[in-house]
């Protein structure tokens, strides 16, 4: 009898990883003298406790989705886009600026703001793309540096535009992704339509990669650029294109924050971290569109639900960060668990 089919293993691996993470997290809580059971109940309630929590969790997932897509898309073309953070910041700024500076009917204004964010992110991705394609400058270095440039340029722009202040004015209602309907549905949470934009982009990525000639070329360059070149594809063109599309996804991630969650932009003391978490989201999801949904959901829920642990169970934020990191750590280690399970199965079969 084959108790452990491959399908079974596929389901077991993430479950075991998460359980292991929670287990080690529980030990951490025990050592530091907190009750792990109340702690995890608080975490659960923070994610799924009531309609408000669910709304906020979904809201938190949207930017992670887009950041994850951005990283995954570049990965599939063989590029490490570490610059998602910077592309997200410029996208955030572009959306917030367009939302604030123009006064248009909603049907034009909202798409305009979204497109502005995507274009800004794309431009920020274009620079490392071109440098990589023409001069073979490694994109990791360029994108990391572009993050700092984005952060400080945007801070400076905010200061100038607001006349020495530290934040932009609120965006006009016509550019907002916020929705009274979703908000009422979830007991005044800040849930906004951004999640639909993000999910639409998941489909877009899948479509580009799986259903178009461009996508085929992008993937080929990712697998083996020498072979792709031999087959008559332009590796350079595809590198630039991949970075631009990746940047556009990231820019839209910034628009989620600008048009949905915050409604404006304040000057930042440091990175948001969403772009960097996007790398982990993409890798957890094996760089596939569907996998990114899984990764973003995990990251978003843990990130938002964690807030409730200090609130309900009185566990300090520092311990909470360790627990969340542990869960993600074990999920990332899923490969080891898979190997273990397969060994176990083979042993049983041998008997």
């Amino acid at each position: 009898m084959n108790i452990m089919s491959n399908r079974m293993i596929n389901i077991l691996v993430p479950v075991i990883s998460i359980l292991l993470g929670l287990l080690v997290g529980a030990v951490v809580m025990l050592i530091s003298d907190y009750n792990p059971i109340t702690g995890y109940i608080a975490l659960w309630n923070g994610i799924f406790g009531d309609s408000y929590a669910i709304g906020e969790t979904i809201r938190q997932i949207s930017p992670y989705l887009l950041a994850g897509l951005a990283v995954a898309f570049a990965f599939r073309s063989g590029l490490f886009n570490i610059g998602v953070e910077g592309q997200l910041i410029v996208g955030w700024f572009a959306a917030a600026y367009v939302g604030m500076a123009f006064d248009l009917p909603k049907i034009i204004h909202l798409p305009f703001a979204l497109i502005a964010a995507a274009v800004a992110g794309a431009l920020w991705g274009l620079v490392p793309g071109i440098l990589k394609a023409t001069l073979k400058v490694h994109e990791v270095i360029v994108t990391i540096m572009m993050n700092y440039i984005a952060l400080h340029v945007v801070n400076a722009l905010i200061k100038t535009l607001s006349g020495g202040g530290f934040k932009l004015e609120r965006i006009h209602e016509s550019a907002s992704l916020r929705s009274e309907f979703l908000s009422n549905l979830t007991d005044y949470s800040t849930l906004h339509y951004g999640i639909f934009v993000a999910l639409a982009m998941v489909v877009v990525m899948w479509f580009i990669l799986e259903k178009t000639k461009t996508g085929y070329e992008l993937k080929s360059v990712g697998y083996n650029d020498h072979a792709a070149r031999y087959a008559g594809m332009s590796a350079n063109k595809n590198i630039v294109l991949a970075m631009v599309i990746s940047g556009a996804f990231a820019g839209l991630g910034g628009a989620m924050e600008a048009l949905g969650t915050f409604g404006n932009m304040s000057s930042m003391g440091g990175f948001t971290g969403i772009g960097f978490d996007g790398i982990a989201v993409a890798l957890l999801g094996a760089n596939t569109p569907l996998g990114v949904i899984f990764g973003a959901t995990l990251f978003g829920s843990l990130k938002y639900g964690a807030n409730n642990m200090p609130n309900e169970a009185g566990i300090p934020v520092e311990i909470v960060s360790i627990i969340i990191a542990l869960v993600i750590f074990f999920v990332a280690c899923g490969y080891i668990i898979r190997v273990g399970l397969i060994r176990l199965r083979n042993k049983k079969e041998a008997k």
């Binding site: 530290f166 005044y188 000057s267 003391g269 760089n287 750590f329 990332a332």
Partner: protein, 362 residues
């Protein structure tokens, strides 16, 4: 296969990075023994309860948030409340995205009065105050125009002025530094007052003024302080929250290496005397107190008595005990202290008007 292995390695590195990053901030929690959060405290429920949401610094940032928490805690203890729902409590924010969530969580736990600590929370307070109309909010260092929000502002320039006078009179090298956190209107008031104070006693000194761009980056504060001390600066005034801890450690290292080194730090917000201890010496000249705790208790008193100043802005200055200098514990000689008092008198009776903005910028 190769690719897969690489992916695995990459994820491991990232996950490890996340963990290490989490460990890095772990030592923050050490100091608050005895005030371990015991949510859902079993204390008897009172009619009235207060809570606060901190900025990213946390309640042990040795400065702004800590001072606010001191006010909340002392007020609660005076009433005989326990920490937790129905008494007094706080939530810490790890980033701007937590503000609304934390405020909302506290409002849902039915606290009557909730403080948002820091001007960055303006928008969040505005949003939540519109949703939770039965809860009273108070924003510190910011202004929100809503009937259930009381805004608290300070005349930081007056305190900064006194710190400037102290620095101007105490410097030996005639070089003085100022290190700010983020460049915003609040911190600019510290700087403007400080520059004015130095100018009042030593007009020829040009203060070396720098903003590091963050309130929670001690390493940046340390680097900047290192540069300033090396260039001959002997007194640094900081208005940088947790970043300031780096300035203290730089000064302490210099004092430790050379007991006769003339290096001083002027602390901010809370009395930072404890931060400056190096063996038997201390490098804290004095601290410019911003009595957030006084303001917090004041608003809580008013609210409890039914006179909550909703929709109003209360400005705390030198006269209201909202600001001042901490006990220097002998670091500043009596004749200098007398001169500082003179200046304080003049500010209090309106003879000196300290500007809010730094001149060259406006």
């Amino acid at each position: 296969m190769k690719k897969r292995k690489f992916g695995l390695a990459m994820s491991l590195v990232l996950a490890a990075g996340t963990m290490l990053a989490a460990c890095g901030s772990d030592d923050k929690g050490k100091n608050d023994e005895g005030e371990k959060p015991a949510a859902g405290g079993s204390g008897e429920k009172s009619e009235f309860s207060i809570a606060m949401v901190t900025d990213v610094g946390g309640i042990d940032d040795k400065s702004f948030n800590q001072s606010a928490w001191k006010g909340v805690k002392e007020f609660g203890e005076d009433q005989g409340w326990e920490k937790g729902t129905g008494g007094y409590d706080y939530l810490q924010s790890t980033g701007p995205e937590d503000y609304t969530t934390n405020l909302n969580n506290l409002a849902r736990r039915d606290f009557n009065l909730i403080y948002g600590v820091g001007f960055l929370m303006e928008d969040a307070i505005e949003d939540i105050a519109a949703q939770q109309k039965d809860t009273q909010f108070s924003i510190i260092d910011g202004e929100v125009d809503a009937p259930n929000v009381a805004s608290i502002l300070f005349k930081e320039q007056e305190g900064g002025y006194l710190a400037g006078v102290a620095a101007g009179l105490m410097t030996k090298s005639d070089k003085i530094g100022f290190i700010g956190g983020m460049d915003n209107p609040v911190i600019e008031r510290f700087e403007a007052g400080f520059l004015e104070g130095v100018k009042a006693v030593k007009p020829e000194i040009k203060v070396d003024s720098k903003y590091v761009g963050a309130f929670d980056k001690a390493e940046l504060g340390k680097a900047e302080a290192g540069r300033m001390y090396s260039s001959g600066v002997d007194i640094i005034f900081h208005a940088a929250g947790g970043t300031g801890n780096g300035i203290f450690s730089e000064a302490k290292e210099r004092k430790q290496a050379d007991k006769d080194a003339y290096v001083w730090v002027i602390g901010v917000d809370s009395d930072q005397y404890e931060e400056g201890k190096v063996g038997d010496d201390n490098i804290t000249l004095t601290s410019m107190l911003k009595r957030v705790d006084v303001a917090v208790k004041d608003i809580a008193d008013l609210s409890m008595a039914g006179n909550f100043p909703g929709g109003e802005t209360k400005v705390y200055g030198l006269q209201d005990d909202g600001l001042g200098l901490a006990d220097s514990r002998g670091a500043i000689p009596q004749d200098v202290l007398d001169q500082i008092d003179e200046h304080a008198q003049k500010i209090a009776n309106g003879e000196i008007e300290v500007p809010e903005f730094v001149e060259k910028k406006k």
